[in-house]
Symmetry: C2
Subunit: 417 residues, 2 copies
């Protein structure tokens, strides 16, 4: 058993590194290479080319064990994403960012619901209510991957420009809203009709408590720790226990464990010594060991062979077009309305269309809930990959045609002004 | 499933922290508190006091999943122990340390074998050869816990004194030799009579290769990385993949995965930037999350109720006396012979009697192999605890009666000189 897990982990980590390095050369985010590495290990490629080798290196018996490692990894990862979230900063420039990020959610969400209406008969699993199916499809269209976006901006040195900061703030707000929406979808899907109200109410109470009492307790605890200069193993343990307890609380409420983890991250002040310390101590191992396990688990569940006929691929294309149209279009329009020029609005639109691995987390939740079928899961995974991978080249094209907005330069000025 | 694991991990981490803090107050190593915390969670205490609560918080279904986390943790931990090992330093002052550490292995090993002769009929599981049983008992008597020892010395500020350095070097050498012995025992036990020779031969070849070619490759790689100043996520991944590959290799050879991990740690130069970086990045999470899971898994397998009758407890006492007599006596005599005074020899003897959690790793391997019964496992766990916990108070008694040897002060001078 140990042998199986060790073998699987080794294969997974090596594949993730190699494909990640290849992607870095292609000027794509390495993490998307790791995602593709996971797909390569699954039944779509490796399992098809050499079923025996796949069964030997990644035996089905190791799947539940890998899955636990993957889920722990995602919990820790979403905690780190929350930790990067700068709640007070979200309050500044609230009008612009709020309008853009709301548009970047509402438009793709509405299009997703409309699409669900078309797809429900053909693709929804038996017994799934239309409401759940439509809500889930809406949410899956409106995700923006805050962490992958941050990485793309960093790679290009854009994170301190106005555009970069605007994109990051919008994405962060998008994240927060999208997770609340997803929590709602999960509660509606999981619960009996009456139970959904209880779950939603409990969720609202929990989030409100965390953002008020929880945040205040956290700020004073963190300040005490910072002053006492006693940050070490003990405080890491304290934070991790808080993450686990909150994950447990949200899981018991009936939404997913990652919300709780994300919330704890969000209420810890981002510039505290403890946030820096904890990030430093767990980020690398989460990235290097845990996340590739999650990508592999996702890859093992994705079977591109399920998208077979020309019609299937056409449908897959439609999903990509709808997702992009909603996210890019919604962001573009809202940006224009609040006063950005066309080019910067387009750049922001394409940036917000990055779905990255956050989308994969959402899709796995949907598959676990049974609200989407393996076939639709596969299509949506392809959509997540394509929309994320198109970001870098299109951004490059926009970059080439004009020098980029420098730090301090206003985005609303038209070229030449 | 996720809920079970989260719940179990939360309970485990909280218990480990609380009992660890209690032990720190009692001037005992906190890690031994975490070990006791694991025992408390098992059938010996929590399971007896409240079987329903235990089944709810630590459901049997979560055991295999916890076990994977625990085993990964032990692999990473033994890698870190190997990383702390300073191979070149072991070559200095070779005569004294070699004689002391050999004596501190040979004497308890021999006593363990003698004890096995007495216990074989009553306590050996059916079908276990005497050779395996005796060898295993010998090894289990001759373990010294290098990491717990290092922590005790640090807590008392003794790690830079002559005595401290001598103890650390002896314990490190003891570690290396004991693990080779254990590898031998495992290979003999696991293999068919003919296969044992193959396993032993393969192990010898693997260890020799790692200490020569492997070490040279590692030194040049590490030097290249240090020069290029490119230490980050990528190099952590490289090291972890090496650890997994080596763990896999030793597991395939037929000894245990942790040898491979330990070996990789041992051949990485201890003072390299990468060793520091990797330790920094994974040590805390291994200590805070993974090791407590291991202690809990150990605790769940330890049932003090199996040591029932007065005879059983007498036997348990005999095991403790034999273990201590062998370790303390062997070290004391060898230290006297190479010229240490009585008091320092006694201090070294009691330090080497620290078996800590390394012993637990060994005992778990023995239980997995079926070479010891759950009852003997429980007795040996008690022995490991008692011998480790007696170290601090006895050391304090020795400390009180005389000012301790200061850095630079010779140990071989008698008091008053």
């Amino acid at each position: 058993m140990l042998l199986n897990v060790l073998m699987a982990l080794t294969v997974i980590m090596i594949t993730a590194r190699l494909v990640g390095m290849l992607f870095a050369r292609l000027h794509q985010p390495p993490v998307m290479g790791e995602v593709v590495g996971g797909l390569l290990l699954g039944p779509s490629v490796f399992g098809r080319l050499s079923p025996e080798a796949a069964a030997f290196l990644l035996p089905p018996a190791s799947a539940p064990l890998l899955s636990v490692i993957a889920q722990l990894g995602v919990i820790l990862y979403m905690f780190l994403v929350g930790l990067e979230l700068d709640l007070p900063a979200l309050r500044g420039s609230i009008a612009i960012t709020l309008s853009i990020s709301l548009a970047s959610i509402v438009v793709p969400f509405a299009l997703g619901v409309a699409l669900a209406w078309q797809l429900y008969d053909a693709l929804a699993p038996d017994g799934v209510m239309f409401a759940s199916f439509a809500l889930f499809l809406g949410v899956s269209m409106s995700i923006t991957a805050f962490p992958v976006l941050a990485r793309i901006l960093e790679d290009r040195g854009l994170q301190r420009t106005h555009l970069g900061m605007l994109a990051l703030t919008c994405a962060a707000m998008n994240d927060a809203v999208a997770w609340c929406l997803l929590a709602f979808v999960v509660s509606v899907t999981r619960a009996t009709p009456g139970g959904a109200i209880v779950t939603v109410a409990l969720t609202a109470i929990y989030v409100a408590l965390m953002l008020t009492v929880g945040r205040r307790v956290m700020i004073s605890t963190v300040a005490r720790l910072d002053r006492a200069n006693r940050i070490g193993e003990q405080s890491l343990a304290l934070v991790l226990v808080a993450v686990l307890l909150s994950a447990l609380a949200t899981e018991l409420i009936g939404i997913h464990a990652i919300f709780g983890a994300f919330l704890i991250g969000a209420i810890i002040p981002r510039d505290s010594a403890i946030a820096t310390h904890v990030t430093e101590r767990i980020e690398d191992i989460v990235r290097v060991m845990f996340l590739p396990a999650f990508f592999a688990v996702t890859g093992l569940r994705t079977e591109i062979g399920l998208v077979r006929t020309a019609d299937d691929w056409l449908l897959c294309g439609v999903i990509i077009v709808v997702a992009t149209a909603g996210k890019f279009g919604g962001t573009l329009l809202a940006s224009r309305i609040v006063g950005l020029d066309w080019r910067n609005s387009a750049a922001l639109g394409i940036l917000m269309n990055t779905r990255g691995l956050v989308e994969l987390i959402v899709l796995n939740i949907g598959l676990d809930l049974g609200v989407i079928s393996p076939r639709l899961f596969t299509m949506l995974v392809i959509m997540a990959l394509v929309t994320t991978l198109m970001t870098s080249p299109i951004l490059s094209a926009l970059l080439k045609s004009r020098p980029w907005a420098e730090p301090g330069q206003k985005l609303t000025s038209s070229p030449g002004q």
